[in-house]
C-alpha cells in the first residue's frame, strides 16, 4: 500500500457509518443554531434576532 493512501485513511474516517455520524452531528449542530436564533422562545434572543426572523420568514411573535 502506498504511503499516501495509508495517510489518507488515517486522516479520514473511512467507514460509511463514521462519515454518517459526522454528517449527522454537523447537521444537528447546524439545526440547533438555526433553532436557537430563529425559533427560541427566550425573549432577549427573540428581540435580538427579530429582524433576522422577519427577513428569513421564520414564524415570529
Amino acid at each position: 500500500m502506498p504511503i499516501s493512501t495509508a495517510k489518507h485513511s488515517i486522516a479520514t474516517p473511512a467507514t460509511l457509518s463514521q462519515r454518517l455520524m459526522v454528517a449527522i452531528g454537523a447537521s444537528v449542530l447546524g439545526l440547533s443554531l438555526v433553532y436557537f436564533a430563529g425559533f427560541s422562545h427566550i425573549e432577549a434572543v427573540h428581540n435580538a434576532a427579530h429582524d433576522t426572523r422577519h427577513s428569513a420568514a421564520f414564524p415570529c411573535h
Partner: protein
C-alpha cells in the same frame, strides 16, 4: 473531515451572513422599521381581536426583556442573528457535501437553491413573510407547521433527485405536496396594521434576499469545501 466541515461552514456562513446583512440593511430593514411605525401608532382599541393581541403582546415584550435600540445596536444584533443562522445552514450543507462531494463549484448553486426551497420557499407558500403587526395564528402551531414543511420538503426533494426507483420519486412528490394539502395554520381574521402595498413589497424583498443569500451560501460553501483538503 470534521475540520473540513467546520472550516467550510464557518467561512461560507460568515461571508453569506455579511451579504445577507448588507441586503437587509438596504432593503428589508427599512420596510420592517416602516411597519413598526404603524404598529406603535395603532390605537389599541380600534383594532380587532387578533391585531390587538399582537400589538399588546409586543408591548409586553419591550417592557420586560432586553431589546436592541434602533441604530447600530439593532444592526449589530441582526448581524449576529444572521451569522448564527447562516453558519447553522452552512453546517448542514457542509455535512451533506461530506456525504456527496460537489463535483463542481456550480453544483453548490443547486444545493443553495434546494436550501432556499426547503427553508424559505416551501414554508412561505403557507406562511408568507410577514411584517411586524400582522395578524397570525398561534406561534407554536405555525412553528410546528414550518418545521414539518421544511422536513417534508427536504426529504421529498432528496427522493425526487436521488431516488432511482420511480415509486420513490412519486413518494417524494407526495411528500412535497402534503404540507400544503394539510394547510398552514391561519389566523381567524386576516389583517395587518401596515398597508397591503408595504406587505407585498416586504414579501418580494424577503424572497429575493433569501434567494440571493442561499445562492451565495451554496456557491461559497461548495467552493470552500472543494478548496479545503480532506485532512
Amino acid at each position: 473531515m470534521i475540520t473540513r466541515i467546520a472550516r467550510t461552514a464557518g467561512f461560507s456562513g460568515l461571508l453569506a451572513a455579511l451579504l445577507l446583512t448588507l441586503l437587509q440593511s438596504f432593503w428589508v430593514a427599512p420596510l420592517i422599521l416602516q411597519a413598526e411605525t404603524y404598529e406603535s401608532a395603532a390605537p389599541a382599541a380600534g383594532h380587532h381581536a387578533e391585531g390587538e393581541a399582537v400589538a399588546a403582546h409586543e408591548h409586553e415584550h419591550s417592557a420586560e426583556a432586553w431589546e436592541p435600540e434602533d441604530g447600530w445596536q439593532r444592526v449589530l444584533s441582526t448581524t449576529g442573528g444572521n451569522l448564527v443562522v447562516a453558519v447553522g445552514f452552512a453546517l448542514i450543507l457542509a455535512a451533506l457535501y461530506s456525504l456527496r462531494a460537489p463535483g463542481r463549484v456550480s453544483s453548490g448553486a443547486w444545493w443553495g437553491l434546494a436550501g432556499f426551497a426547503v427553508f424559505c420557499l416551501a414554508p412561505t407558500l403557507g406562511l408568507p413573510p410577514e411584517l411586524p403587526g400582522t395578524a397570525a395564528a398561534d406561534l407554536g402551531l405555525r412553528q410546528n407547521w414550518w418545521v414539518g414543511t421544511a422536513a417534508a420538503t427536504a426529504v421529498g426533494l432528496a427522493l425526487l433527485v436521488f431516488a432511482r426507483h420511480w415509486l420513490l420519486k412519486v413518494l417524494g412528490a407526495v411528500l412535497l405536496a402534503i404540507p400544503h394539502v394539510i394547510g398552514a395554520p391561519q389566523p381567524e381574521v386576516h389583517e395587518s396594521l401596515a398597508p397591503a402595498a408595504l406587505e407585498t413589497q416586504f414579501k418580494i424583498a424577503s424572497w429575493l434576499t433569501n434567494a440571493a443569500f442561499w445562492l451565495a451560501l451554496g456557491l461559497l460553501s461548495a467552493w470552500l469545501y472543494r478548496r479545503s483538503s480532506d485532512a
